[in-house]
Symmetry: C2
Subunit: 325 residues, 2 copies
């Protein structure tokens, strides 16, 4: 079994990442295909199955080389039944039997979980988690996703909503409206969208100036990357936005760590590419809000696997569950 | 083994509760002894061992009836080594080898954990948790303690500080000083001490009136129970205090539930005896701050075991760990 490969699949709304991964978590081959969400998403599993066969052909390998398929899916998953409960971007109807369909197409054992959970498992296995059995991963992207691992297992929660860290309330009164229907969620502040929102609220004021303001005046819009880049160069307005982001992110992460005292809190996603300028300030606020025994032991770190976390964590699903059986 | 008893011990600063508990978690006999913390706490384990022997004699039973001892201890515990790291009320020096000493005194297998964790395990096994494998227990007493259970296991945390829910920051700026050295912890608001503090801040004002104010004027002091009783009768000042307590407790519990989506959040401890007047308002605020999928699935409930939770959960330690081995 040690010579087998596992197929890791990270299913996204526009692109599907695939990889053959060794039993020790090394990527042997990786590639991408477009996600065809036309025709109620009926081609998605068929295309994945075809693509795996094609890649095996290219490499002159046969299916016996493959132990199974692990997949991270963009939506809440019942990981026992392998059903994806709902998803907005793929064309599928609610309660889509993803695991069984892909299993039928490929004749391989299939295990699925939510994509944020897979990213967390990837970081635990081969990334910043470095084997830590108690780990919280926070993906700071367009929104904020989370994966919580305790005693080496993902915390799914009774309704699959474990790890909904993006919707922890950071501003209880008077916070901005969130897509989830609440207000003041940390997602409205520390996601890429939140950073742009905070910056825009300042940039529309007539008396603001600086590099970020110049970009805004020239292009009419700014991105989270603009804010981060300008903050790195010391632009006061951008720096103030990043200080606010760090304050609330440190507050929320300290609350999570006071509850779980994990070995690490790993920050991933596009916003985490800000690097030290985000990390140092978040650490400072985390230390301020964390209970002393937590402050001394829980580390905040940047994710190290980047876009590979999803496929590697998906492969971990296969390895860990087949080892259990 | 099904006919054996387990000894559950709940060690407190002034009183030690003991019980013989059946393998299905029923209390067969329970009693208390004083905790003798003189002489650097050297008599504590000796007295527990003697008391168990005496009780067996009384019942005309011998030690073969006992499977082992489980103990909840008031301080952070390394549950692998059975060492209690530090405690202020018992006279022991730091890193006290509690498990090994009690094992030597009694010739029985001993398992120890933090007392808040034991209370959580008790509620999981026989109380409000009703067998739920994902459970958060919050003890609202003089301070606020917590026990977090995921996938049926206590979350100890990397430094034993899992479940330090009392020190989650509820008021990030301008909150009251907490014993832990931080400010604005939920313990400064929703513990018995916090409730009294909030009430006193209003009662010292000259223009306040009502039943609680009368008690305060007559006695010079009020208790958390006074506040709760007056709120139940509709006293406006007391009701305002309990509304504030419920707001912040609902906020903090929703944050925890957005992270873990447990089946239940169980409220215990003296303050929880407020019952519906606390529970209904906390639920309302919890619903306001919880992510929709969490709101629909995570229940808030009152603890049902009262003072027995600790000894029952301590007995669970023995049962669960001996079953594993």
């Amino acid at each position: 079994m040690q010579n087998k490969w596992i197929v890791g699949v990270d299913l996204g709304g526009t692109t599907t990442k695939l990889a053959f991964i060794s039993m020790v978590g090394e990527i042997v081959h990786k590639w991408e295909i477009n996600t065809d969400n036309s025709n109620e998403g009926k081609n998605i599993t068929i295309n994945i199955a075809k693509s795996i066969d094609q890649k095996l052909d290219e490499l002159d390998m046969n299916k016996q080389k493959l132990l199974g398929i692990g997949m991270g899916a963009p939506g809440p998953v019942n990981y026992t039944t392998g059903v994806i409960l709902n998803t907005v971007n793929l064309g599928w109807q609610d309660n889509f039997p993803l695991r069984d369909l892909l299993g039928a197409e490929t004749s391989l054992p299939v295990f699925i979980d939510n994509d944020a959970n897979c990213a967390a498992l990837g970081e635990m296995w081969k990334g910043a988690g470095n084997g830590a059995k108690d780990l919280v991963c926070v993906t700071l992207g367009t929104g904020i996703g989370g994966g919580v691992i305790t005693n080496g297992e993902i915390v799914q929660g009774v309704n699959g909503a474990g790890g909904e860290i993006g919707h922890i309330t950071a501003i209880p009164i008077g916070g901005a409206a969130c897509n989830c229907g609440k207000t003041g969620c940390i997602e409205t502040i520390a996601s890429a969208t939140g950073i742009v929102r905070l910056a825009n609220a300042e940039l529309i004021k007539e008396d603001t100036r600086g590099e970020l303001k110049e970009i805004y005046t020239q292009l009419g819009v700014i991105t989270a990357k603009n804010v981060i880049d300008c903050a790195r160069k010391g632009d006061p307005l951008a720096s103030e936005v990043m200080a606010k982001v760090s304050f609330y992110l440190g507050l929320v992460l300290a609350g999570i760590a006071n509850t779980l005292n994990p070995e690490k809190v790993v920050l991933g996603g596009g916003v985490s590419r800000a690097g030290e300028i985000l990390l140092n300030q978040v650490k400072e606020k985390f230390d301020h809000f964390a209970f002393s025994a937590v402050r001394k032991s829980t580390k905040i770190a940047l994710a190290t696997l980047g876009n590979d976390a999803g496929v590697i964590g998906a492969a971990w699903l296969v390895k860990s569950r087949l080892l259990k059986e």
